[in-house]
Structure formats: structure tokens, C-alpha cells
């Protein structure tokens, strides 16, 4: 069954959707949208390094994304405004990545696969990486759920409860890095944050608790992944962007429903 490229693509989309959507809820609640974007852009630099050093792409992107996150925290603690730091680092990393890729022989043609994903070319080993990464992220988020939620509501309340909110934000950053690394193959570096944020935003009008929002977001992400894949097959469109389009349509629908309900 895994020999069918369409089945492999569907399973890859499913894995990413289930991991990205609950994490995306935290990205929305903590207003980290630009952070997600910036780390995802940095992933291109990771791709370039992986190709140059003949490392697996996942390893290189994971490393660069984590370094990027550490850099963001270090600079913002020195008093620079967060959005400025992110803007500088995201575009610098993307530009350096795009430049660096040209020094690696033979990959120039493949670049768009890393920018927009190439889900139809997912191999069995890619699939294994995606599902192991997704399972790790889901396990991490479930394990730390109460603490993450407390730190999200208020770092000070977390301190007073004997939790270290900095530790929780490092855990979130790690989870985010893993999602970005496994998402490169599926939707590409430029559309990762769409798969994080849009399902979460679409779930908000339907949710009455943080838990239900995470579950509904995951369901919406799965629907978007499979629907997008189906649309891509039907209309012969690029698969990654088609999945994001499907998510956007669902977002429009739930927002409209909320408006009509008053």
C-alpha cells in the first residue's frame, strides 16, 4: 500500500496535520506567529547546509532552526523589539540560505521543492521521519499540556506555582523546530506557518476550551491536508499550496458561521 505515492502523500499530510495543529494553537495563543514564520524561513539555510555537508535534510534544518530560536531569544533579551529581531533574522536566514544553496552543485533545480514542499515525492523513509517527529511533538505537547497552558496564560502565575515558564517556552520552541523540520518536505519552508496557524484560527469559533480547540484544529488540518491533496490531484495543482488553500477555505467558513450566529 505504501508503494502508492498518493497514499504516502496522504499519510505525510496526515502526520504533519496532527502535529502542527495543536502546536499552532499555542503559536496563536502566545502570539508567536512571526516566530513560527522566522524559524521556518531559517530552515532553507538548514537545507543548504545539509546538502553541502551531505547530512539528512531533517538534521540540518533542525539544527539551524534551534540555533535561530536561541539567537532570537538572546537578541530580544538584549532589548531589541521582538518583531524587529524576527524580521532581521528571518529574512537574513532565508537570503543566506538561498545564496548558500547556489554553492551546492546540482541542487539549483530542486529549490522550489524545499520552498513549497514536494509531498508527492515523499519516500518511505521520509514518511518514517515525519511520523516519528509528529509522534514526538504530540507526546511532548500532551505531557506538558497543563504547564504549557499555565505559562501561556501568565508566566508570573507559572512562577508562583513553582513552574519555570522559560523551560516551557524552550519545550515549545523544540516542538516547533521539529514540526518545521518535518514539514519542509510536505508544504515547504514558506508555507509551514500556514499549517500551524490557519487550522488553529479556523478552530477558534467552534471551540469552548483549550483542549477542544486543539482537537478541532487537528481535525481541520487533517481535512485540509486530505482535501488539498484531492484538489491537487483533481485540478493538477501543486499539492502543498493546495493544502493551505483548503485550510484557508475552512477558516473562511468557520468565521462566517460565527458571524451568522452573532
Amino acid at each position: 500500500m505504501l508503494d502508492d505515492f498518493l497514499i504516502r502523500a496522504a499519510l505525510a499530510g496526515l502526520g504533519l496535520a496532527i502535529a502542527a495543529a495543536p502546536l499552532g494553537c499555542f503559536v496563536a495563543w502566545r502570539r508567536m506567529a512571526y516566530f513560527g514564520d522566522a524559524t521556518a524561513h531559517a530552515a532553507i539555510l538548514g537545507v543548504a547546509l545539509s546538502l553541502a555537508l551531505s547530512l539528512p535534510v531533517v538534521v540540518g534544518t533542525l539544527a539551524v532552526v534551534l540555533v535561530m530560536a536561541a539567537l532570537v531569544y538572546a537578541l530580544s533579551e538584549r532589548g531589541l523589539a521582538m518583531d524587529t529581531v524576527l524580521g532581521v533574522l528571518a529574512h537574513s536566514a532565508l537570503a543566506f540560505g538561498l545564496v548558500a544553496v547556489t554553492f551546492v552543485p546540482g541542487v539549483r533545480l530542486d529549490l522550489s521543492a524545499y520552498l513549497f514542499g514536494d509531498i508527492l515525492a515523499v519516500s518511505k523513509s521520509d514518511l518514517a521521519v515525519i511520523w516519528v517527529g509528529a509522534a514526538a511533538v504530540v507526546a511532548l505537547v500532551v505531557w506538558r499540556w497543563q504547564a504549557l497552558l499555565t505559562a501561556t496564560v501568565s508566566p508570573d502565575l507559572a512562577w508562583a506555582s513553582g513552574l519555570d515558564p522559560r523551560r516551557e517556552s524552550r519545550i515549545l520552541t523544540l516542538a516547533l523546530a521539529v514540526v518545521v523540520a518535518v514539514a519542509i518536505k510536505v508544504v515547504g519552508a514558506l508555507l509551514v506557518s500556514a499549517m500551524l496557524l490557519i487550522p488553529a484560527a479556523a478552530a477558534r469559533p467552534l471551540a469552548r476550551s483549550p483542549e477542544s480547540m486543539a482537537v478541532i484544529a487537528a481535525a481541520i488540518a487533517v481535512l485540509a491536508a486530505l482535501g488539498g491533496l484531492w484538489g491537487a490531484f483533481l485540478f493538477d495543482t501543486p499539492a502543498g499550496p493546495s493544502m493551505v488553500c483548503a485550510a484557508a477555505v475552512i477558516f473562511a467558513a468557520t468565521t462566517l458561521v460565527q458571524r451568522l450566529r452573532g
Binding site: 497543563q146 508570573d156 502565575l157 508562583a160 506555582s161
Partner: protein, 262 residues
């Protein structure tokens, strides 16, 4: 043994010195009110005591196993987070619903359980935060300007409630107030802060100040007392205590008063 002992605290925020050479301690069952003008470092002191702010120098010691109940001034909660009052009370520790309902009742917010956190008024929010703090069965309750936005009778009612909670739980109370002259009459000690501890002592019993009693006394059932002090001195030339008018008992020994707490 004191619940919290802080010695020689020096704290800067964003390069600006906020606290210098501050000593603070609280004994079991004691009620301490911290007063001071805006920007005098009251909230920062409270956040340093709970561990949310690292002092540049000095130490904060908690009694081993100390349970804190912290009620911040406000929380910046994102409306994309669907959180009801009842769910909020289960963070980070999951608490049985009956216990949560009882805490809401005790904090005077019994009807708010199903309301979303982001739709509460300032006063309702305070009461919900108080309920959450009570659930932790605190040894010390730390309140940051809890009466902000309340009118005089509202403040008085709140103070009576705190007194009731203190006698019920036997916890110590540290309360920050921006009101320089009217403090909770049950305060064992008032600490006047302006970057450093200017003075501290028992609040004056308002027996002789009949005119103030006429203003606040009858409507508040004696919950408000006057803390008379003058701020005619300059803070540039260090802080002697000679400038005060002698109503304060400097260096009051709180330990001897703990017997009154139960």
C-alpha cells in the same frame, strides 16, 4: 521561621534600577501592606518575591515547601484562547469541580464559573484570580493592587474578605496598594517603598482622626485605616528615618504578632 526572607535586593528592569538594598520578610499569619507612589517598585518587589524576577544581587529565601497564592494586577490574555473561569482554576494542578466551585464562592465569584476569562470586568477578574490563589491552600497570599478600580465601599468589602480568608486559612497576606494614606486596618505592618524601604511600622489606629472616620469609617465598617506619613524629604540624599513624624514603629518585630493570626 519566616515564610519569605529577602535580603539586600537589587533589581533593574530594562537597565533602569527599580529596587536597591531592599530587605523584606513575612512571618506566618502576618498581614503586610506595601505602599508607595507609582513606579516605586511595589509590583517588582512582589514579582521578585515569587521568583518571577531575578535580583541582580541579594537573595529571596522561601521556607521549604512554601505554597504561594499570587494575585497579579492584570493578565494579558489572548482572546484566541478559549478559557472559562472553571477551566482556568484547574491550572496548573487539576482540581475537582466541587473544590473549584467552593473557592469561587469563597472569593465572592460564585456565579462566574462558566464565563470566558476574557469577558470579565476588572473586579470579577480579581475575584477569580483570588479563587485560584486560594485553591493552592497558600501559606502566603500575595496581592498586587487588588482594590485598583474599586470604589471605597468596594475596597472595604474586599479587605473584609481578605481578613475573613486570613482568619479562615491562617495564611499570611502581602498586599500592594497604590493608596498612600488609606490601608487595610488589619495590617500588622505597613511598608513604605520608593525604590528602597523608606519606613515600616504598624498602621496608626485612627481613634483620634474622627474627621477621617466620618469620611470612610461608617461606610466601611472599620475596614479602612489611615496610615499617616509625610513625604517631604528628598530621596537623593539617602534615606534616613528622622523625617517621619514618629507614628511608625520602625523595625517592628512581626514574629511576636503571629499569635493574633489564628
Amino acid at each position: 521561621m519566616n515564610l519569605i526572607d529577602a535580603t539586600g535586593l537589587r533589581v533593574s528592569l530594562g537597565g533602569q534600577p527599580v529596587l536597591s538594598d531592599v530587605d523584606f520578610s513575612i512571618a506566618p499569619g502576618e498581614i503586610v501592606t506595601i505602599v508607595g507612589p507609582n513606579g516605586s517598585g511595589k509590583s517588582t518587589l512582589l514579582r521578585t518575591l515569587i521568583g518571577a524576577v531575578r535580583p541582580e544581587s541579594g537573595k529571596v529565601r522561601h521556607r521549604p515547601g512554601l505554597r504561594l497564592g499570587y494575585v497579579p494586577q492584570k493578565l494579558a490574555m489572548d482572546p484566541t484562547l478559549p478559557l472559562t473561569v472553571m477551566r482556568f482554576l484547574s491550572l496548573p494542578r487539576r482540581v475537582p469541580a466541587a473544590e473549584r466551585a467552593a473557592a469561587l464562592e469563597e472569593a465572592g465569584a460564585g456565579t462566574l464559573g462558566d464565563r470566558p476569562m476574557t469577558g470579565l470586568s476588572g473586579g470579577q477578574f480579581q475575584r477569580v484570580l483570588l479563587a485560584r490563589a486560594l485553591l493552592n491552600k497558600p501559606d502566603v497570599l500575595l496581592l498586587d493592587e487588588p482594590t485598583q478600580g474599586l470604589d471605597q465601599p468596594g475596597s472595604a468589602a474586599f479587605y473584609r474578605q481578605i481578613e475573613h480568608i486570613r482568619s479562615h486559612l491562617g495564611c499570611a497576606v502581602v498586599m500592594v496598594s497604590h493608596e498612600l494614606h488609606v490601608v487595610m486596618s488589619a495590617s500588622d505592618r505597613v511598608v513604605c517603598l520608593n525604590g528602597h524601604v523608606c519606613c515600616q511600622g504598624h498602621p496608626e489606629v485612627v481613634a483620634q482622626a474622627a474627621e477621617y472616620r466620618a469620611l470612610f469609617g461608617s461606610g466601611t465598617h472599620g475596614a479602612l485605616a489611615l496610615f499617616r506619613h509625610e513625604h517631604s524629604h528628598s530621596h537623593d540624599a539617602g534615606c534616613g528615618h528622622a523625617h517621619h513624624d514618629g507614628h511608625h514603629d520602625h523595625g517592628a518585630a512581626p514574629a511576636s504578632r503571629t499569635a493574633e493570626a489564628g
